[in-house]
Amino acid sequence: MAFKPFFPPSAEITSQLIRRMGKRRAMTLLEEAGAAPASEPADDDAETSDELLTSIVAALSSEPESNPEADWREQRWLSGVIYHFLGFQAGRARRGGRNEFSSADIVEGMRDRLGLFHAEDAQLLEQLAGEFSDWLREQDNAYAAGWGNIVPDRYERGRFRLEPLPKAASESPLKPITAKALAARGGLVNADLIEQ
């Protein structure tokens, strides 16, 4: 047991999501260009603008070359998006919001954050949520994030609870509980004494 990395999405799903995001952005750009107001710029400007748009769309739509370091940076970025999404939810839970979540919440949260609103994007988002569930199930009792704990449901895959930390670190409710548990086992935790 030691400090453990937060959920690292696989290179495969990360790459597919990034590619999909690029395609969606390209589509949006094209749609916006198609719906542009009729006020016509000078001919030269129009030509330059079209070339620029074409090259941007081509870049966004193309398959990126695989590069381990770039892949890793994308995985880390995606991991951070999920981490901060859960942190945001934990903050709401601390202020009285719900603290029980499921894979569907990950799908919905990532759909909004990644801008993948099309029906056909759902499958990719569900794969990502599935990877997260598998990772969470491998954690012992809880994963300690900087904003609180993520506690997997032992009986239902994909369900989990967020236990936000109190605003002031000194207010940790675990303190007296853990001290009691430690004292009972000469420094080793007796899980039976830890109140839920």
Binding site: A2, R76, N141, A142, A144, L188, V189
Partner: protein
């Protein structure tokens, strides 16, 4: 499994049903093929400075992954399984490289008696995090998201060595406090 400390690859019948379920080991022929390649797999892992438990874990995961596929469509099971295993080992190495700062902190803490006793228990890990001050928490979040101290330094406006020292000393201090409350 009857004896995980053994260097041998245990016989299929020696595995408990719980163990098989925990690794999704469903196909005896794939598991036995892993036994055939185990010696080479171990050498492969050791040549990359990984230990036997890491090699065993990766091979069991490779068995699970291959078992989930249509094994009749696989022409040479042994080499296919070894490739799956090698991919997992390479991923593990990549992950270790990318979380090098987190790993180095874990190693340092494991040599401190108070910290080692505390970080051994996940319930106490959560308490360590709960007691971190704002700066330690930012460092912690960076480390678990795969950033190195060098990458965090410009973001947090302090030299990498200073961040490392602050974090390491802070965790040790919190661990002593927790131990002191026994």
């Amino acid at each position: 499994m009857s004896d995980l400390s053994s260097s041998d690859w245990p016989h299929w019948n020696a595995l408990t049903s719980t163990f098989r379920e925990s690794y999704s080991l469903t196909d005896e022929s794939v598991y036995n093929a892993a036994g055939d390649i185990w010696e080479s797999a171990l050498k492969f892992a050791r040549s990359r400075n990984l230990d036997e438990s890491e090699a065993r874990e990766a091979l069991l995961r490779a068995v699970a992954s291959v078992s989930a596929q249509d094994t009749n469509a696989i022409k040479t099971l042994h080499s296919y399984l070894f490739r799956a295993y090698a991919n997992l080992i390479n991923r593990l190495l990549t992950r270790q490289q990318h979380y090098a700062s987190l790993e180095s902190i874990n190693q340092e803490l494991s040599s401190d008696p108070d910290a080692a006793a505390v970080i051994e228990h996940d319930i106490l890990l959560t308490e360590i995090v709960a007691r971190m001050d704002e700066e330690m928490r930012k460092i912690y979040e960076g480390l678990i998201l795969g950033y190195s101290f060098a990458e965090l330094a410009p973001k947090l406006g302090k030299p990498a060595n200073s961040l490392r020292s602050k974090f390491s000393k802070g965790v040790k201090r919190i661990a002593r406090e927790i131990r002191g409350s026994e």
